[in-house]
């Protein structure tokens, strides 16, 4: 739900008199940066690294959320 909200905030729309502007842009006044959303979609299968007993393993996982605050 949170992912869908973030994507909808960054999707241009004609609703509400926005005239093709994104909702988040109409609030902040700044052009939306969608770089974080280009690489992976929600629930995409990914490899990540995990160390077990000082050995590096490549483990499969699923993207659940993007940490934008970092």
């Amino acid at each position: 739900m949170r992912w869908v909200c973030k994507v909808m905030q960054r999707t241009s729309t004609q609703a509400g008199g926005l005239n093709g502007c994104t909702p988040i842009e109409s609030v902040t006044g700044e052009t939306t940066d969608i770089l974080e959303y280009l690489d992976f979609g929600f629930y995409d299968s990914v490899w990540y690294h995990e160390k077990v007993l000082e050995r590096d393993y490549r483990v499969v996982g699923w993207v659940s959320r993007i940490v934008l605050e970092v």
């Binding site: 992976f40 629930y43 990914v46 690294h49 499969v60 996982g61 993207v63 940490v67 970092v70």
Partner: protein, 203 residues
Amino acid sequence: MSYYVLTGKCTVISRTTIQQVTNLELQVNSNKLLYKEFDQEVRRILGEEEPQQDIGDKPSPEDWAEFKEFDEDFQEEFSNIVSKYDIKEADDEFTLEVFNDTYLNMELALPSGDGAQPAFARVTKRLRDTNGLPIGTAHDNPILDSCCMKSSTKMVTSRQWRQMQLLRTFLRRLMQKIIVTFSLMRSLITVPMGRKLCNNTRF
């Protein structure tokens, strides 16, 4: 930038370096087994049962053959074709006249040279190519249309008309600025009592 990743143990971890699983890797049996185990684990944690299978839902059209052949209600609802022979196909009635310009025969009132009386005009024709199709498409803004209007005095295009309007606006604003400048100069050389220092100054 970092990502929250859902692991196979249904825990969420944060990772800055992740890599997309390619389509080739998705077809490997060991990876397929991983996904299957993960789906089962998620389903167990969420308390969901196995999804309902298609058995009994009659997914293939062959399952409906008996209804299609013998059931009248089914035939009326799904095999009914609405057709009237007196209504012709759209392609049969197509003529080039459907592309007629909406401005054809429209009367216009254009300001004339002196501006006192407007000059009336009428849209006479639509420019077409060798195939009879109209050249260009109408713009939403009528001022920006490039249609040809026949005036009582001469032929003017909308582009020429736009240029005339711009020139008139420019000259009007220029005259206003000149008048304001002269008024300021006049007030500067007028004494407070109202007597002018130079009476024969002309503006």
